[in-house]
């Protein structure tokens, strides 16, 4: 079996290098065929929270802007510039249309990380005279948390990190209780990247409006996956990422409200004054076009797509529950992204489990998968014990997930968990009726 694994890796290397070679020859049809061959050798992709494959329609829309239409969207004096500008403005409209905004409220960035940085630093710097207090949550993405910590370290901000409930939701009451006369920003993500829990956006938006505080939401996981209307939800600033919605990597956007209230942001990147001064730098036209197209497709297909994805997600969940005991769901049962299933398989460890599920590309909250050797801080914040956090697996379905893949994922997950439980001393103890909480564990000598 070890040899099989090595063979598999080797054949993968061969296929990849042949694709690279054919790319260099530039034959489009052969290239696309080879991409399929690669995919046939790769595990089943169920990690769509990490990133999504680009939709071929997005790729197609982008291609003209790499070669012939290469102009700088800021060149006002010739046709190259006009063509590029038109493409960028169309993309801006497509993004705005998906979230109920005006295209003038869309700022292109390099991704949600940068958008998070501009939003938080931008508000704190611009409104320093008004206040310096941020209310956010322990379950936020690192792009938000680390930005907040940075501002705290500089003495520019004071930050309240709220605890979620056991399903990962931040309550409006807890936000309300944290508000002070110095609060200038509420930063609560639209949907969590690990557990898929969706925040009570409308209630938070209403509270923010009532108190005259800006509401920023990191919607990297939510845009294009659930309907979001910035006016209906009272969102003032919103971070968007291209590669989470079948668009290209390296592009994102920031929605910045222009009216009622108008939000002004101090830029993080200074320069030629692009994007109304909020984000200087020559726009990557093909990437902008790709993000626009991805938003357009998402808007047109979301409803149908979600029905299909929810059915697959439920099939996966039920299929696992039917065959295995000691399985628990992490996150909210209803207020949840359609494509997210995060479950803990008690008595088996996540990294070992991913190794046993070798034909599935998934992710785990186990410590072994992170550099810090700490299990997922998100699961910890929910009060999921460390032991179950180590046992968690995140399945992230997507537009291209098929029913056959889900059937296979059920079979392989069940086999892998069963195999590792046979090997697990904890499972054996549980079967013997020993309460693991009462055991005196011996930690290693180092």
């Amino acid at each position: 079996m070890g040899d099989v694994e090595v063979d598999r890796n080797r054949s993968l290397e061969l296929v990849i290098s042949s694709v690279v070679a054919q790319n260099e020859q530039g034959n489009n049809e052969e290239r696309l065929m080879s991409v399929e061959t690669v995919m046939a050798k790769m595990p089943i992709y169920l990690d769509n929270h990490a990133t999504t494959p680009m939709d071929p329609r997005v790729f197609e829309a982008m291609t003209p802007y790499f070669l012939g239409s290469f102009g700088n969207a800021a060149s006002r004096n010739h046709a190259f510039g006009w063509v590029a500008e038109k493409a960028v403005e169309t993309a801006r409209e497509q993004i705005a249309a998906l979230i109920g905004a005006n295209s003038k409220e869309i700022v292109f960035t390099s991704g949600a990380t940068e958008s998070d940085n501009i939003a938080i630093k931008g508000v704190i710097e611009m409104y320093a005279e008004k206040g310096n207090h941020i209310i956010t949550a322990k379950t936020e993405h690192k792009a938000v948390l680390d930005t907040c910590k940075y501002l705290e370290r500089l003495g520019k901000a004071e930050v309240t990190y709220l605890d979620p409930d056991t399903d990962g939701r931040i309550s409006v009451e807890s936000i309300q209780a944290a508000i002070t006369d110095k609060t200038v920003l509420i930063a609560v993500m639209a949907a969590n990247n690990e557990i898929g829990t969706i925040a009570p956006l409308k209630e938070i938006g209403a509270l923010a409006k009532e108190k005259g505080i800006f509401f920023f939401t990191d919607a990297a996981q939510a845009v294009g996956r659930i309907p979001l209307d910035v006016n209906e939800l009272g969102i003032d600033i919103m971070a968007i990422s291209g590669h989470k919605i079948y668009g290209p990597k390296g592009i994102g956007a920031l929605y910045v409200r222009r009216r009622r209230p108008r939000v002004r942001l101090t830029p993080v990147i200074h320069g030629g004054g692009h994007e109304r001064g909020m984000r200087s730098g020559t726009l990557p036209v093909p990437l902008c076009v790709g993000l626009g197209k991805a938003c357009e497709i998402a808007g047109a297909e979301m409803e149908e797509e979600n029905k299909r994805i929810i059915a697959l997600r439920e099939k996966l969940h039920q299929g696992i529950l039917e065959k295995l005991d000691y399985v628990s769901l992490n996150g909210h049962p209803e207020h949840r992204l359609p494509n997210n299933l995060n479950i803990s398989f008690a008595y088996v460890e996540g990294e070992g489990l991913m190794m046993a599920m070798k034909d599935l590309a998934v992710s785990s909250g186990s410590a072994c998968t992170s550099a810090s050797l700490e299990p997922s801080y998100v699961l910890k914040a929910l009060g999921v014990g460390d032991e179950l956090a180590h046992s968690s697996i995140r399945y992230g379905l997507g537009r291209f997930t098929t029913e056959e893949e889900i059937d296979f994922a059920i079979t392989q997950s069940v086999e892998a968990v069963s195999k590792l439980r046979e090997m697990s001393p904890l499972y054996e103890m549980a079967q013997e009726g020993i309460d693991l909480a009462t055991v005196q564990w011996q930690v290693p000598h180092e």
Binding site: H390, M423, P425
Partner: protein
Amino acid sequence: MAYSDKVLDHFNNPRNVGSLSKADPEVGTGVVGAPECGDVMKLQLKVRGDIIEDAKFKTFGCGSAIASSSLATEWVKGKTIEEALQIKNTQIVEELALPPVKVHCSVLAEDAIKAAIADYKSKSAAVVTEEVKAD
């Protein structure tokens, strides 16, 4: 993370998975690690005279932890207790080509061997005292 071929081999074909009877006076059991740390190893040795005749393990942990304990059972079998006590975690690291973040798995395997032997020794000491008392 890319695993070494040896880790993959032990993970996919673990040697000596299972349990021995804890009641057997010739069996020493070592359980080390903690669930909240993500690793628990149970190693059992069956000792006849001074020789480790059999070894079994069960491990909750990542691939490297499972491979380390599988290798440990393979190595202790047929050794004397004294020889088994000489096994060092660094040898396991070397054999399995464990990266630095996985060194703790080898430490746990070494601890498991020591804990199992200590358990065996305390059991046989108890047997001896009982025998003395019976006289």
